[in-house]
Symmetry: C2
Subunit: 346 residues, 2 copies
Amino acid sequence: MSQGINYQKEIREQPEALRRLLTEGRAEVEALAADIKTAAPLYGLFAARGSSDNAARYAQYVLGIHNNLTAGLAVPSFFSLYDSNPNMKGSLTIGVSQSGQSPDIVGVVQAATNQGALTAAITNEPDSPLAKASKHTIQLRAGVESAVAATKTYTTELMALAMISAAMEGKEERWEELARVPDYVQQTIDTNAALSGAEAFKSMEHLVVIGRGYNYSTAFETSLKIKETNYLVAEPYSVADLLHGPVAMIGEGFPVLLVAPKGKTHADVPKILETVADRKARLISITDDEEILGKSELGLKLPAMPEWVSPIAGVVAGQIFAGALAQANGLDPDKPRGLSKVTLTH
Amino acid sequence: MSQGINYQKEIREQPEALRRLLTEGRAEVEALAADIKTAAPLYGLFAARGSSDNAARYAQYVLGIHNNLTAGLAVPSFFSLYDSNPNMKGSLTIGVSQSGQSPDIVGVVQAATNQGALTAAITNEPDSPLAKASKHTIQLRAGVESAVAATKTYTTELMALAMISAAMEGKEERWEELARVPDYVQQTIDTNAALSGAEAFKSMEHLVVIGRGYNYSTAFETSLKIKETNYLVAEPYSVADLLHGPVAMIGEGFPVLLVAPKGKTHADVPKILETVADRKARLISITDDEEILGKSELGLKLPAMPEWVSPIAGVVAGQIFAGALAQANGLDPDKPRGLSKVTLTH
């Protein structure tokens, strides 16, 4: 029980960290949104790795659907490895990194700033090289994160990105939806903290994690948490990509973790449930849908909430599952083998 | 031995298919390049799924490094699922799909065409809905592909994308490099066709496939071939992303497939070899580097070639490995369970 103390503590700190960012970070976000209005970028470009890359995946959906801005993920090695300098004029380039240290991420944002593009850093470290390379900085204000597996820096990254979208859209309704997120996260923690049932999955060696739309990011991040803390092969998919090939690997007893808060992506759910049933796979679910929970060997229940904010609470259920599985396996999420908190890739 | 007849035949047809595309497809590519020069797009956007998505990953590197064009992968579900219509003005939007049928891919390209953006289809079916939605069509000319697991449509997609880059750059040197690719592919087939040693990996349940830079695409596509034909969990990574978390799962006896043709990404190789040795993982390699081959339990040898074209031959070694593994497992690559040749996702 002494293992993963920081990981568990940092999971519980998320409602407070999200509230703090919403209050204290809003002025920084509004200043960026005002500059975006003036610069009128044609597309968004995110530079990020690891958990932050998953946050950027979320932003791709939010900016596309709420702000009509097409956004993609940058290739950091252009600058660091190939000494290339592709044109980023007309872009809004955002570097996302809790430490703000990784030279390849800083390289992308510095190049965009040098080219005259509008740039921003989303980071927990306002004095970091990433912040210095960017015109704007949104500070996560998550406090010290000690566990190697990121929790509160990830959910505050999602919140910062959602706040940028809300400020660009300028609708008070969006801010009201965001204001309720800390409570959704608290409910998710309260409902699932005493999770039993992860024990039954402790000897699995691999699984697939399925999510779509806004929660494509949640599938990636939940999968990463499981890999980092349990040394399992956990592979994330959208439903569509899964059906374009990889579905072949799902056979009897194969564990499938379905992230499916109610929303527009729910149309896919019957197809997934059918596939799981036909192939006698094992279902774990993260959802507010009682029908899916009823069909699951293990269900993590979410509160009902607007689909676009559901990844912020949904991933907390994923963090809890990964932690419970690590505990069942006697592993320490605070110190996964071979990982350090800050990874400097070039 | 009667299994995978089409898969094996289609692997062998690749040199000829690539030669045909180089000769017969050049006029279509030059016409597109002339329009790109006039339209001067600010960024590239690819709409694709499955193997074609991996071809788009390759194009991201080639266009960024050779043509200074930042390119990203579109989110097809914006149009099909969320009824959103993000701004694509200023983009070069390219749909990549062997069948040209998938409604979500057609949706992205049609929306871009409607917005007045420059659009192109890369497809084996010039009368498909995708071709009709696009201003330009580059026909793959790969002939009928019967095996569900794509081979020659993937390598011709890579070639079509490389040809677009060469035409945009306008350097004869690039065309000369492309002209040698069918021979590199033939050599890769001749060297590795009688692959023995896959048998020793037949009972593995998962592996990671590592590639970087241009060959990030090769890691993804090799991993997809293995999943489709062997029902294994095969997860692709760049070295950098692997070190940002997932490296934790690599332990004793864990199979690691390293795609590492010589080039700028080779700087990462010592770190990977060290990780594999420290953790007593099992190494499979696809490379022209004798040192790596010497350290591998199973090596697939490539000819020496310019790094930027190496994914076209490199993936053929991946196809051969996946096929040999399927044979060792008594599985049929022509008809993986639960997959059909054309997947219609929305």
